[in-house]
């Protein structure tokens, strides 16, 4: 008997035209580590909610077919009983945490189900999740990554046999993402739990998962062992899933006849070494010179800035310590560093929202303190991490027009139309920003951000919480900025974005700039990499592992080394 058996399940949300799950059939074995992949709206989250009984007990809709967990139909069980079998961690996990303190939240479920040892259960779960040191902290003191671990601990404290996580690492830097997956792995291997993740980071799937389920239009397309699944490059791409870069590279090279098509493609660097090593044609010595930052005029400069948090009690922690930095005209800067390194604080200081305790921040040579918020708003524009907070009107059009309208910019309607067209939003113009898809929201928030023609555009995590296809969309949108705003600063964890776009990378750690330079220099610096846990795209490491001295940041560059001479630097 399988752990989970799904037969002919069809589910339609009330008022929806088409079913979200459409005659779904599948089985999950006990002890499996299953990744569910599929494009947006393929029914991944809906499927997971059927497993813990939220559907059909709590969320109503038309459901047919049967879902059995340990052989018992979910319809015949109360949500409470199911919750002890199936744990669930939401994508917006922050809203899942309902108690003010860490231990209380972790043991809240156990308490509600009247388990006598609820405190111990909570403590145990926290310990496994590596939060032992935070046990008596308040939730708002935790970083984003720690909150996620807490949500996980809260679900796991009930010791369910099955744990479901919806996009567990979407907002995390690589170090924290590894941590989450290591914990899941331990749960899977040591405690024999069945783990199900909705995931689009295929490198993690290849590294940790045992099986992959591809959903399309609410149907099971296939369910395969993870390695094999990753090799189905074309089918994955059709569902907007991007397999690991080494696999994509191998697939493209097979198409171009550079490698044999019948050989099994690699899914990680070790396999890649064996696979590509045989075919590498050129091993040129290092030729490319690192570009030094240009000498344009300085727009923003930080002079020996020290900032502290407002502490709730005790000594206020320093975020930045004697920090100095110049941002020059026309630069494309990526600010990187682990969660909590002070990236957002730097952006906020440029907007004059946070004032330094010591030192000064100059904007166009003038102290930023002397500007009013409205003046700053005309020179700089900040696009928040959470695009919902950018939408203050009831339609995209009104939002884009707002700043120009209140400033009585002549012909603002015309410019609004232009921006709508430029960011491909004309058809969505009358919709409320909040009700759009993730990618559309980002496009709209960028359009709002550039409406006043700011001299500098600041973006806080523009690709967080997005699947890879939508990330590409955002990157294309960044290309649209050409000619509108030339100086852009992005705070991000997304190394693909950094590689494809940034010209200057600033690495923050512990309140200091520990590295500042072009990507070639930053990624080659192993010390920096180990300090802040940044990780270049997989293809870069693949190139390194094969002994290619010049860094390759894109798959095209990588493939170049397998071609004839003149195409090498294409």
């Amino acid at each position: 008997m399988s752990k989970i058996e799904i037969e002919h399940v069809t589910f339609t949300y009330p008022g929806a035209d088409a079913p979200t799950l459409n005659d779904l059939n599948l089985c999950v074995e006990e002890g499996d580590f299953l990744a569910i992949v599929g494009n947006n709206g393929c029914g991944k989250s809906t499927f997971c909610k059927t497993l813990n009984g939220l559907i059909p007990h709590f969320i109503v809709g038309d459901m047919t077919g049967s879902i059995r967990i340990d052989g018992v139909d979910t319809r015949e069980q109360e949500i409470g009983d199911l919750a002890k079998r199936v744990g669930y961690v939401y994508q917006d996990f922050e809203n899942q945490i309902v108690c003010p303190t860490v231990l209380d939240d972790a043991s809240y479920g156990c308490l509600n189900y009247a388990m006598e040892d609820y405190k111990e259960r909570g403590k145990n779960a926290l310990q496994i999740c590596g939060l032992s040191s935070k046990i008596s902290d308040y939730v708002w003191q935790l970083s984003g990554g720690q909150k996620h671990l807490l949500a996980l601990a809260g679900a796991a404290a009930l010791s369910p046999d099955v744990l479901i996580l919806d996009e567990p690492i979407a907002q995390l830097d690589p170090a924290h993402a590894d941590q989450i997956y290591e914990i899941l792995k331990e749960w899977n291997e040591t405690y024999h739990k069945t783990i199900i993740v909705i995931e689009h980071h295929t490198e993690y799937i290849a590294r940790y998962c045992k099986h992959v389920l591809l959903l399309r239009d609410g149907k099971n397309v296939w369910q395969l062992p993870a390695q094999e699944a990753m090799r189905r490059v074309k089918e994955l791409r059709r569902s907007n899933i991007f397999p690991p870069q080494v696999t994509i590279a191998a697939d493209r090279m097979a198409e171009e006849g550079l490698v044999p098509a019948d050989e099994s493609f690699p899914v990680n660097i070790e396999e890649g070494k064996a696979f590509f090593g045989k075919y590498l044609r050129h091993l040129p010595e290092s030729t490319r010179m690192a570009r030094t930052p240009g000498g344009g005029e300085s727009l923003v400069s930080f002079r020996n800035v020290t900032v502290r948090y407002r502490a709730v009690k005790g000594q206020a922690p320093r975020i930045l310590d004697q920090f100095s930095l110049d941002i020059r005209k026309g630069e494309k800067i990526a600010l990187i560093g682990s969660n909590g390194a002070g990236k957002s604080t730097i952006l906020k200081m440029m907007m004059g929202l946070v004032h330094p305790e010591e030192g000064s921040v100059l904007l166009d040579g003038r102290e930023i303190k002397d500007f009013s918020k409205e003046e700053v708003g005309e020179l700089l524009s900040l696009v928040y991490q959470n695009p919902e907070e950018m939408f203050i009107q009831d339609s995209i059009r009104a939002d884009i027009a707002y700043a120009m309208k209140v400033r009585k910019v002549p012909e603002y309607e015309k410019r609004t139309e232009e921006l709508l067209a430029q960011f491909r939003l004309t058809e969505l113009a009358e919709r409320d920003g909040r009700l759009l898809s993730g990618g559309q929201m980002r496009r709209a928030s960028l359009a709002i951000g550039v409406a006043l023609n700011p001299k500098i555009l600041l973006l806080d995590e523009p690709t967080a919480n997005l699947d890879i296809a939508t990330r590409r969309e955002v990157m294309n949108t960044l290309q649209m900025l050409k000619g509108i705003t030339n100086t852009v600063v992005i705070a991000t964890h997304d190394m693909q974005l950094v590689c494809d776009w940034a010209e200057r990378i600033i690495v923050l750690s512990g309140g200091y700039v520990i590295a500042d330079g072009p990507k070639e220099q930053i990624f080659a610096d192993l010390y920096v990499r180990s300090q802040v846990g940044i990780r270049p795209p997989q293809i870069y490491d693949m190139g390194r592992a094969l002994g290619i001295a010049n860094p390759c940041f894109t798959i095209d560059e990588f493939i170049g080394y397998f071609k004839e001479g003149e195409e090498r630097y294409a």
């Binding site: 009330p14 059909p56 007990h57 709590f58 969320i59 109503v60 009831d394 909040r434 009700l435």
Partner: protein, 284 residues
């Protein structure tokens, strides 16, 4: 328990949580926005009542009303330590009743006229009840109320004026206009986020009449409870005070305090006893 019943349960909970958080946050601010005085007329942002009013018109009125009252109690009274004891029950009940009535009146949140009328009625009901309670309170709290020169007039005048001022100033500016702006704008947008169908003739709560006898009865009982609680909180103990004043010496004051302490303990014992009993009956 059938599926349909459960659905409304969860939705009510969502509305409750939503209203509680939002109105709670708003009441935190009202504690801080400075009021300014022009002569004797005090302009203050008394209430952000438009938040629960709007939500009561869009969703289940009772959940929104209870959520709002709880939000105010928890966020601005308990969190900021402004808790006034039993007297808070008065505010709790008047806010609940006002918001509930306004929410029941509106059938179509897109109709601005009805929305405007409903919101001003809600505020007026709430303010009027508060005003009556306030006058009674001062009457009980200050000894020889009638005998103090100028006091009755001043109390009637200030309370009555404050009430009218609140209805006209706060009521129109901070309840009616924002509700008129928000309710039609949110209609059809906020409902899908909670998985609810927008309010129309079919989804309108049972009971087509705006004023059912049951509802009127409930409102009256609530109002009576509000007055009773307020008087109990501030004035009810005047009886003891009066007896103490009759002796006018230290012994009587000491006796008074001891009596008060004993009464306090008895009240606690009673509450506790009832709670235990309730728990036991539930268990049985």
């Amino acid at each position: 328990m059938n599926a349909k019943n459960k659905m409304t349960q969860s939705q009510k909970m969502m509305v409750f949580v939503l209203t509680m958080s939002l109105y709670g946050l708003a009441t935190l601010f009202t504690e801080l926005i400075p009021s300014f005085q022009v002569g004797i007329v005090e302009f203050s942002v008394e209430y952000f009542l438009f938040i629960p009013l709007t939500l009561a018109m869009l969703f289940d009125p009772l959940s929104a009303a209870l959520g709002a009252a709880t939000g105010e109690l928890v966020f601005s009274e308990i969190m900021l330590g402004q808790f006034g004891g039993l007297g808070e029950l008065e505010k709790f009940l008047t806010v609940t009743i006002g918001v509930y009535i306004a929410g029941r009146i509106v059938k179509d949140p897109r109709n601005r006229k009805v929305v405007a009328a409903a919101s001003i009625i809600g505020v007026a009901v709430q303010q009027f009840m508060g005003c009556v309670v306030d006058i009674l309170k001062v009457q009980f709290a200050v000894e020889d109320f009638e005998a103090v020169a100028g006091l009755p007039e001043s109390v009637f005048f200030t309370e009555g004026f404050a009430c009218l001022n609140d209805i006209l100033f706060s009521g129109i500016l901070f309840c009616m206009l924002p509700t008129m702006y928000l309710a039609p704008r949110l209609y059809g947008k906020i409902e899908p986020l909670l998985g609810v169908k927008p309010r129309d003739k079919d989804t309108m709560i049972a009971g087509d009449y705006v004023l059912t006898p049951k509802m009127v009865g409930m409102v009256l009982i609530g109002f009576a409870a509000a007055i009773a609680s307020e008087l109990l909180a501030s004035g009810g103990y005047e009886l003891i005070d009066w007896e103490a004043a009759w002796a006018g010496n230290t012994t009587s004051i000491i006796i008074g305090i001891i009596v008060a302490a004993i009464i306090a303990l008895i009240v606690i014992g009673m509450i506790r006893g009832r709670a235990v009993k309730n728990a036991e009956t539930k268990q049985a």
